[in-house]
Each structure stands twice: as C-alpha cells, then as structure tokens.
Amino acid sequence: MSDKAKKVFKSLGLFLCLGAIIAVGIVGIYNPMTYNVDQVIETGLTTSQIKTIQQKLKNWGYYTGSVDGIYGSQTRNAVIWFQRNNGLQVDGIVGSETAAALGMSLSSQSSNDLYLLAKCIYAEARGEPYVGQVAIGAVILNRVESSSFPNTIYGVIYQPYAFTCVSDGQINLEPNQTAYNAARDALNGWDPTYGAIYYYNPDTATSSWIWSREIITTIGKHNFAR
C-alpha cells in the first residue's frame, strides 16, 4: 500500500504544475460557482465513501468544493482529473482501481473466512485432485451447518483434534491459487460429497471410531462419511 501511495505522490509531484495550469483553465472556462447546480450523479457509493474520496482529492489539490458526501459534477471532474494524472481509465467513476490509487478499498467484507478455508484445504489436501479439495471445503462447511459441531468456520477448523493440519502446524502454510478456487467453490455451495461431515485416508487413519461411520463416497485418497 505504501508503495502505491508513493507512486501516487510521485505522479502527483510530476503533474502538480501541469495540474495547477489545468485547474486554472477549468475554473476559467467552466466555473461551477456560476452554475451552482451540482447535479447528483449515481455512483453506488455511500455518503461516507464519497466524503473520503472528496477529502483525499482536496488534500491533493484536485478538488476545491466542500466535503459533503454528494457526488456532483465538481467531484466527478476532480475524479476525472485524478484518473488522467494517474494513468487510470478516465470515466469519472470510482471503481476498484481508482479507489486503490486513492489508497482506499471499496469492499466492506473481509475475506478471512475464505483465507482460512483455503489454508485448511491446502494443508489437508494439496496433493488431491481439485474435486477432492472442494470436498474438504464442503465438509468444513457441512460441519458449520451440522448440530454436532461448532457453528463458525473458525470454530470448526480450530476445534481441538479436528484437523491434523492444525495439530502439526501445516495450517500455517500459504495456500496456492487452486486451494483458493476450491474454497471459493465450496463457499458458493459446491459439495461433491452431498452432506459428508467426516473424511479420512483409509491407509493412515488411526481412529477406530471413524471406521464406524457410513461412507458416502471416495475421492482421491479420502473416504468421505457422515
């Protein structure tokens, strides 16, 4: 993020003089004050997000209006100017790329669940076929839904003795893209096991209890059971 910010400031410095000239030009040709009818533009942004954008643009000299959370033509022009200066697509809309260049993120949802699920899938099943990896993710989510397990993804994964990869620390390996894709599919509702809440490798499973569970299917090296 700081690199990005540096980049922004660097290009800002380069274009500052030019910017000032353009600003004078804009004010000269088109003075919003004389119109004073700031048409509200549809953005899909919240008032506080718009305020943040306005504040940042104001700090950097792109925007001279008030920080009021209203995305009017003045704000739009400032965004266009900012986009032009930073080599972004010039459309006057603050999408994810422009937001990133402004040093802010539009997403309000954290991806912690996805990350943890991907970590567990990677640690438990990185050698398995893709569908076997989705299946591990599905088992974890089936446990969250099941009455006999904890009710959050964190609770299920960190339940004592539940996953070997937690006991031996492999959970802390960084997941690859395949594990991420499998986690995303599982979160989107893909479950190749149709309801399994257990899985084990029949060659290495030590628990005698697990063998008493009804096997639903076998994928790769794992038996899936409920």
Binding site: T46, P160, N188, G189, P192, T217
Partner: protein
C-alpha cells in the same frame, strides 16, 4: 593406580559433572518455560470449563422458570436468555480438548436447544402462544440440562481437587484420553437427550429434507454415461464410482485438454447434479452478460426449460451465474441452479443443481393477495425503489413464500427487500456487499 590415570579420572569426572550441570541448567530453563506454557494452557481450558458449567447452570434455571411462566413477554425474555447462553456454551465446548466422538451428543443438544428456543421466540413475536407440545419438550429439555449440570458439577469438584486437564489429554496416537472419558457420562446413558421436533436451525427435519424435484424412476450406469456423452460431446469421459449422500449419484471424470472435470448424475431421473473442475482461467474475453447467456443456453441443452439468469458476479476470471425458472413472470428462487463460466473460453466449468433437485415442482399459487402499492407500504419512505418483481423465496428452514421483491437503493447501498404477497409483512432483506472477490448478496 598410576598418578596419570588418577589425574585423567578426575578430569573426566569434572568434564562429565560440568556437562551434566550445563545440560541440567538448559533443561531446567526449558522445563520452566514449558511449565509456564502448560500452566497457562491449563488456565485457558479451566476457564472454558467453568464458563461452560456456569452457562449450563443458567440454562437450567431459565428453563425451569420458562416451565412455570404464563406471560408472553416473560417467556420471550427467558427464551432469549437461553439462546444467548447456549451459544456461549457452544463456544466453550468447542475450545475444550475433547475428541468429537466424546462430545457430539452434548454439542447437538446445546445447538438444538438454541434452535428450538429461537423458533419459539419468533413464534411469540408473531403473536402465537407456546403450545402444550412445546411445553412438554421444554420439560424434557429441562431434565436433560439438569443431568448435564450434575455431571459438570462432578467434574468441577475433580478440578478443584487438583485434576489437571493438560495432564489428562490425549496422546495424538491414542483414540481417547482420560479427559474424554470424564465427559463420557454426557454422551451416553447418564444424560438422555430428547428428540426435538421443530422447524428451525439444526433441527433434524431440516437436515433430512425430502427430495421433491426428482421422481423415483432410477437410471442405470450405462444410461448415465450415455447422457454424459450427449451433454459433453467433446470430452473424454470415464466412470468414477458413486456417491451415497443426500443424493445417490453416478460419478464421472471428464477431461479436455489439460483440464480434468468431475461430474455427478443423479440415479433418480438422471439429471446433471454437479460439475466442477480446477480450470485455470486466462485473460478474459467474455463479459458478464455473455457468460450469463452461455449458462442459460447450456441449461436449455440439458433439458432445463425457462431457466433465466437472475444474479451474476464476476470473480478471478470466472462468472458465477444463478439461474432460476420464471413461471408466469414469477421468479422461483428455491429452484436455483448455479453455473460457473470461464471468461477466457466461455466454457462451463461448474454446475450445481442441488436446490433445483430438492425443490422443483409445479407451483399453483402464483397470484398475490395484495397489490404492489399495498406491499410498498412495508418499505421505509427513504427507499428508492428501482425494480419490483414477484418472487417465490425459500423460507429460512422449511417451505416457501410468494413475495414482492423490491430492489432498492439507500445511501449508496443496494438492498433486495422481500414483502409477503399475502400479509404485506417484510420477510427477508438481502444486501449487496462488494468484496474483492465480486459482489455478494448477504
């Protein structure tokens, strides 16, 4: 003995003693640290155990008060207490170092207790009374909670007498530990758990749902393979076992180029239930709308008629499309099929039809009781309504409801608000949440 030999012996003794002392110090320090970690872990476990015992005590006392209460607002208060206490007890159990098979009955009891009380609480809020049958269930819940309480009290006395949890948890190579067996009283005859009947979270009626979308006619493995070849003509297809879960399926492995796919065809009616693959998407050439059309066409080719894309989101080179049937201009959300389309090639790389298979039937009652203007009065006045549609939505647990779907915008956020088309009451609100992985409906 020669003098030299004595000197050598003394020297050897000094070296050995030094080594022992040095090792001892090192070892001692490590043991000290280990002891400190162990002690702290013991405290964490004990804290969770005592909190669990306390939560169960309070659950028991709230259940006993609920048994004798007659006033709705008082009942609602106790029910709310029990829901909160059981959620907290559930967190405590999940942190204790007990094997799943030694504690799963207790976990189920606590989860179902919370689900059951939540449903009663909602019923009261909707103006209903607690029925006699429900009161009977409360009675047996109370008995079970009492027995759990006694078992936990016995363990509290043991802990107070110096029993260490950390000293008694399992060796990873052994199936069960002494601490597990201390809980075994909770998992068999000492504590009996009632079979709870309710339609709510964690209930058995929700987990053992009926399959309404498929007839009982079964196809055999050859027919399933023939269908797969018809649906996926350009792929190498081989049989890959069966699944005996909620759905009984024939499983297949498909390959095309470098990519391997996995597909499941139901025995009943032989529909494509699932497809997935580890397809790696290159740079996108198809936009979201094109991918939605591809998904719709694919569904039609598979024999699913009138499936329309009602929601889509692009993420990491894939578009996830939700297809539903539209009957008489009503969106049938319970019959949802999810399709994943690769944006580089436009190939179908994922398909998930579980909801469709569970729910798809002919619907008769598709006309609303109240008109759109009446339904709109359930929205706050600052809602900017963009579209209005009729939609059948699944209820939280069992059944479905005909609703008006209002897509509205408020302070930059988009909401889908569902208003019961018979009663005019709000039944559900979804919010569009932007994430780094595309848009989510929450």
């Amino acid at each position: 003995m020669k003098k030299g030999a004595i000197v050598a012996l003394v020297l050897a003794c000094v070296v050995v003693a030094g080594a022992i002392t040095y090792t001892g110090i090192n070892w001692g320090m490590t043991a000290n640290q280990l002891g400190s970690y162990k002690m702290q872990l013991e405290y964490v476990y004990e804290q969770n155990f005592y909190e669990l015992a306390e939560n169960i005590n309070n659950i028991e006392s709230n259940l006993s008060k609920l048994k004798v209460s007659t006033d709705k607002s008082v009942q609602e208060k106790y029910l709310a207490n029990i829901v909160a206490l059981s959620n907290s007890a559930q967190d405590n159990i999940a942190t204790l170092p007990i094997n799943h098979n030694a504690i799963n009955d207790t976990t189920t009891f606590i989860n179902q207790l919370s689900g059951f009380c939540l449903v009663l609480q909602q019923n009261i809020a909707d103006g209903q009374e607690i029925s006699m049958d429900d009161m009977d269930q409360i009675e047996s819940l109370h008995t079970s909670s009492q027995n759990i309480k006694y078992e936990l009290n016995r363990l509290s006395v043991m802990l107070a007498g110096g029993y260490s949890i950390v000293d008694n948890i399992k060796d990873p190579n052994i199936d069960s530990s002494d601490f597990d067996s201390q809980f075994s009283g909770l998992n068999n005859d000492i504590v009996e758990y009632p079979q709870l009947i309710y339609d709510g979270p964690f209930s058995d009626s929700v987990t053992n749902k009926e399959i309404n979308g498929l007839s009982t006619n079964e196809i055999n493995a050859e027919e399933a393979l023939a269908r797969m070849k018809e649906w996926f003509p350009d792929y190498l297809i081989s049989a890959n076992g069966e699944t005996k879960g909620e759905f009984k399926t024939f499983n297949f492995t498909l390959s095309k180029g470098e990519t391997e796919y996995y597909a499941q065809v139901t025995k009943r009616d032989g529909i494509l239930l699932q497809l997935n693959s580890g397809y790696t998407a290159g740079s996108s050439t198809k936009n979201e709308d094109e991918c939605v059309t591809i998904a719709e066409t694919f569904a039609t080719n598979l024999g699913f008629s009138d499936m329309k894309g009602v929601w889509s989101t692009a993420s990491n080179g894939f578009v996830y499309v939700n297809l539903t049937p539209i009957m008489n201009d009503v969106i049938i959300y319970p019959d949802l099929i999810k399709v994943k389309v690769a944006q580089d090639s436009g190939e179908i790389v994922g398909w998930e039809a579980r909801s469709w298979a569970y729910n798809h039937t002919e619907r008769n009652n598709l006309s609303p009781e109240i008109n759109e203007i009446t339904a709109r009065s359930a929205l706050t006045s600052d809602m900017d309504v963009r579209t209005t549609k009729l939609a059948i939505i699944p209820n939280d647990y069992i059944g479905e409801t005909l609703t008006y779907e209002f897509m509205c915008v408020n302070d930059g956020a988009t909401y889908y608000i569902y208003v019961n088309a018979e009663t005019g009451k709000q039944v559900n609100i979804l919010k569009v949440v932007e994430t780094d992985d595309g848009n989510l409906l929450m």
